[in-house]
């Protein structure tokens, strides 16, 4: 059996969808961030896979993944800072409480 591209892509996609699911259902903001990491990770995997399988002669996908990891780190740091900021004010991290502004 050959392990072709699609064999890798599907788990990656599932990971992405898990991220989507988690983001939409989890009420803890940190859990949402964790879900986001899943999604970003899935994107990284995709880039690496495409690069490796389809365009082995270059490294653009790999570099994209590299930078994406850095971006993800930056995002997470900033997001956690804001979440902590909120936690200080309302003493919880429940995303559904964030509805003072609506309609």
């Amino acid at each position: 059996m050959e392990i072709t591209l699609i064999f890798w892509l599907v788990p990656s996609l599932i990971m992405f969808c898990c991220g989507v699911y988690g983001f939409i259902t989890r009420r803890n903001m940190i859990a949402m961030l964790i879900s986001l990491e899943l999604m970003l990770n899935s994107v990284d995997i995709n880039f690496a896979l495409f690069n490796r399988y389809l365009f082995p002669g270059q490294m653009e996908g790999m570099f994209f993944s590299l930078f994406a990891i850095a971006l993800a780190a930056a995002e997470t740091a900033l997001a956690i800072a804001i979440i902590l900021n909120i936690f200080r004010k309302v003493k919880n991290v429940d995303v559904q409480g964030l509805d003072t502004m609506k309609f």
Binding site: E2, I3, T4, L5, I6, F7, L9, P11, L13, I14, M15, F16, C17, C18, G19, V20, Y21, G22, I24, T25, R26, R27, I30, A31, I34, S35, E37, L38, N41, D44, I45, A48, L49, R52, Y53, L54, P56, G57, M59, E60, M62, F63, L66, F67, I69, A70, A72, A73, A74, E75, T76, A77, L78, I80, A81, I83, L84, R88, N92, V93
Partner: protein, 173 residues
């Protein structure tokens, strides 16, 4: 034809990634979610190694597993008791989540299959030249084609800004 070993490795990595990501988003204990995330990220790192992107795998472990997950754990510990169970999901939000995830899965799978399988059914991983960290470093700071000097500089500005932002927001005053 892949070796049996690599197939087994594939199976394990895939299983870990899929199961752990599912567990990440379904477990009711937030600290466990972070742990499962860690396993997922490790799985991805192994995947990178299998693909031959050792550098990327290293970065994945160092930054993701070593940095981000620790950050999460800190945040979790700061914002609540780790033993706390998350509240039960309402049917509505579960439905919406499942619906969105399945829709995404369906569309994504359909799109990928329609294209990728047609081109590459049965195609094994092609050979590639093993790049060294040297090359990676060279390319990262090159300004020619395929060089990433500009993004590298740009992301440094971004990271600086994120530091400033993080500081200004996280500090108490």
């Amino acid at each position: 034809m892949n070796s049996v070993g690599s197939i087994i490795l594939y199976a394990i990595v895939t299983l870990v990634m899929v199961v752990c990501s599912v567990l990440t988003v379904t477990t009711r204990k937030i600290l466990r979610a972070a742990t499962y995330l860690l396993f997922t990220l490790f799985g991805a790192a192994v995947l990178y190694f299998m693909l031959g992107y050792e550098f990327l795998g290293g970065v994945q472990i160092a930054v993701y597993a070593g940095g981000i997950v620790v950050l999460f754990v800190f945040a979790i510990l700061l914002t609540g008791k780790p033993a706390d169970n998350a509240e039960r999901l309402t049917a509505k939000s579960t439905f919406l989540g499942v619906f969105a995830a399945l829709a995404m899965l369906g569309v994504g799978a359909w799109a990928l299959c329609s294209r990728v399988t047609r081109m590459l059914t049965g195609a094994a991983m092609p050979e590639k030249a093993q790049e060294t960290v040297d090359q990676i470093g060279e390319q990262l700071l090159s300004s020619g084609h395929g060089g990433y000097l500009l993004p590298f500089e740009a992301i440094s500005v971004l990271l600086l800004a994120c530091i400033i932002g993080g500081v200004v927001i996280a500090r108490k005053r």
